[in-house]
């Protein structure tokens, strides 16, 4: 079939010419016009708290419309979300547990970490308040009172960001190795589940404000101790971080798309969506990616001295 072959060869020649023209039009060779991301799918592993509040849906719709891509959100606890990223099964991770994030970055799995927003943790519980902690501004003191009064405390018990923080507060309160009494229950589930359980059984729990507000219809729990959103103690601050999975470790991840997502969320547009997101008229998250004095600590593990931990 000589005719066909000639046609084919002509086609190849033409294609090469067009390809080269494309290169020269860019003003030289080896110019990277950035990753093509249209039509690709980003896998985001994130925590149940961002997911259940509905904020991510808003952000993802805007991002998908902007870039013509799809975002698959896998809601897990922070521990599981980071594990999913570690094995390269997601492209980008959004969590809220600085200690776990730091470890992840120090191991080289996560790169280009940015802080995107914060809200705060609150101690919620039965309106009767048997441990008499209401109105206090010391989370550790409140935990001590809960323990001393043998009031039920429901823990996430799932290695999530909230659970990590809860254990840190218990440690401050003098319970280093989980030497709790009968009053301490591990639910082993998402924040929503724990809020429901706490409401049903009349105990206390540590929750993030976002989930509590988005579930205010489903529980009759009251806020007893609040965090920095209402000028409470810093130990109840809840910052959310996001990072891309290192493509040098997992060459299968979609790094270009992950960075586009991080860029979008930390842009004016993304931050405005976060600021404008309300549930029941209350703002859930406070953007913090754009500040007058840039926070350089957000990019590296805390206490990092610049040494190469990979060598």
């Amino acid at each position: 079939m000589p005719i066909h072959r000639r046609g084919l060869l002509a086609g190849i020649g033409g294609g090469t010419a067009v390809g080269l023209a494309g290169c020269t039009a860019l003003g030289g060779d080896d110019v990277d016009s950035g990753p093509e991301i249209v039509g690709e799918t980003l896998t985001l592993s994130t925590t149940t708290s961002t997911y259940h509040t509905g904020l991510l849906d808003e952000l993802n719709v805007a991002f998908e419309d902007r870039y013509g891509v799809t975002v698959d959100t896998v809601p897990q606890g922070t521990g599981a979300a980071i594990q999913t990223g570690r094995s390269g099964d997601s492209d980008v991770v959004m969590v809220h547990a600085r200690s776990q994030e730091d470890e992840f970055m120090a191991d080289g799995y996560g790169i280009n970490r940015r802080e995107i927003m914060f809200n705060d943790f609150i101690i919620i519980g039965d309106p009767d308040d048997p441990a008499e902690i209401s109105g206090g501004d010391d989370a550790v003191e409140a935990f001590v009172r809960i323990a001393d009064s043998d009031s039920m405390f429901v823990s996430r018990g799932d290695d999530s960001g909230t659970h990590t923080r809860e254990l840190e507060i218990w440690e401050e309160a003098g319970f280093e190795d989980g030497n709790f009494g009968e009053w301490y229950r591990e639910a082993g589930g998402g924040m929503g589940e724990v809020v429901i359980q706490t409401g049903q059984r009349g105990g206390y729990t540590l929750a993030d404000r976002g989930t509590y507000l988005s579930m205010s219809n489903e529980s009759d729990l009251e806020i007893h101790v609040e965090g920095p959103v209402e000028d409470g103690p810093e130990i109840l601050a809840n910052p959310y971080g996001i990072f891309a999975i290192n493509p040098e470790i997992h060459d299968t991840v979609d790094y270009g798309l992950a960075m586009a997502y991080i860029g979008f969320i930390t842009s004016l547009e993304g931050q405005a969506i976060i600021e404008g997101y309300t549930v029941e008229g209350e703002q859930l998250f406070f953007p913090e990616a754009l500040t007058e004095d840039p926070n350089f600590e957000q990019y590296v593990p805390e206490g990092w001295d610049g040494s190469d931990s990979n060598e």
């Binding site: 698959d72 809601p75 897990q76 099964d89 579930m215 299968t252």
Partner: protein, 238 residues
């Protein structure tokens, strides 16, 4: 979005109630479970015929593997499939983790032993003289197999049903390998009826959970009805 109904409110739900969301969940559930059961049946039926008719070394072992598989915990199956399809697993390059196809794999592994086991019982109960008669009439092995399937069709239908029931009603496996993903436009990608119920209950949206639960039960009933009719050949089985 929360419905704004307290838990003790009467279950008055206005349709269309997040209908797109619910419809896409039903579609994913059926796609995953029906595909898994069809594939399982294609593998299980020949295996059941083989084990039922032939003597071969390792037959006892195979039978006990089938019997163990019938009761194998779905969460463990999900975990094993996750290790297989995860980026770091042997099939990592196939990029299957958090996809409906990974869920099909998990449900295939769950349903196949059940379908094989029940088919085996059905096939073994076909009278020896029926098979002898088929041979006597000059039937090939294939013909005999067909006659056996025809005779055992009711039992085979039961097997398919049991497999489908196990597939569509399990939570743990699909949750682990599928990731319970729904798009931001509110349509399901790997969210099935069971994992959606789990998620809704977790968030205290018990009305939606109840609706999804009712739909799940109705689906199983419908599939039951269809399969039983097929098994009966449209008539009464005596």
């Amino acid at each position: 979005m929360p419905l704004g109904l307290p838990i003790h409110a009467p279950l008055i739900v206005e349709f269309p109630f997040e209908w797109n969301y619910i419809r896409s969940i039903i579609e994913v559930s059926l796609y995953v479970s029906v595909t898994a059961v069809v594939l399982s049946t294609l593998v299980s039926l020949p295996v059941a015929l083989l084990v039922g008719f032939k003597e071969f070394p390792g037959k006892t072992l195979l039978t006990s593997i089938i019997n163990t598989g019938m009761g194998f915990p779905s969460v463990v199956v999900g975990l094993l499939v996750l290790f297989t399809v995860s980026n770091e697993g042997p099939l990592g390059s196939w990029d299957l983790v958090f996809t409906p196809e990974a869920m099909i794999m998990s449900q295939f592994v769950l349903a196949a032993p059940v379908i094989t086991g029940v088919c085996l019982a059905a096939v073994s109960s076909v009278e020896q003289n029926v098979r002898d008669a088929a041979y006597a009439m000059g039937g090939t092995r294939f013909d005999v197999a067909l006659v056996t399937i025809k005779e055992a069709r009711y039992g085979i239908a039961t097997a398919v049903l049991a497999g489908f029931g196990r597939a569509i009603s399990e939570v743990g496996g699909v949750l682990i390998v599928g990731g319970n993903i729904a798009g931001s436009d509110g349509t399901s990608y790997t969210r099935t009826l069971t994992t959606a119920i789990q998620l809704e209950a977790q968030q205290g949206r018990f009305e939606t959970a109840m609706i999804l639960g009712a739909i799940l039960v109705v689906l199983v009933l419908i599939v039951n009805a269809i399969v039983v009719r097929l098994g009966n050949g449209g008539g009464r089985y005596e």
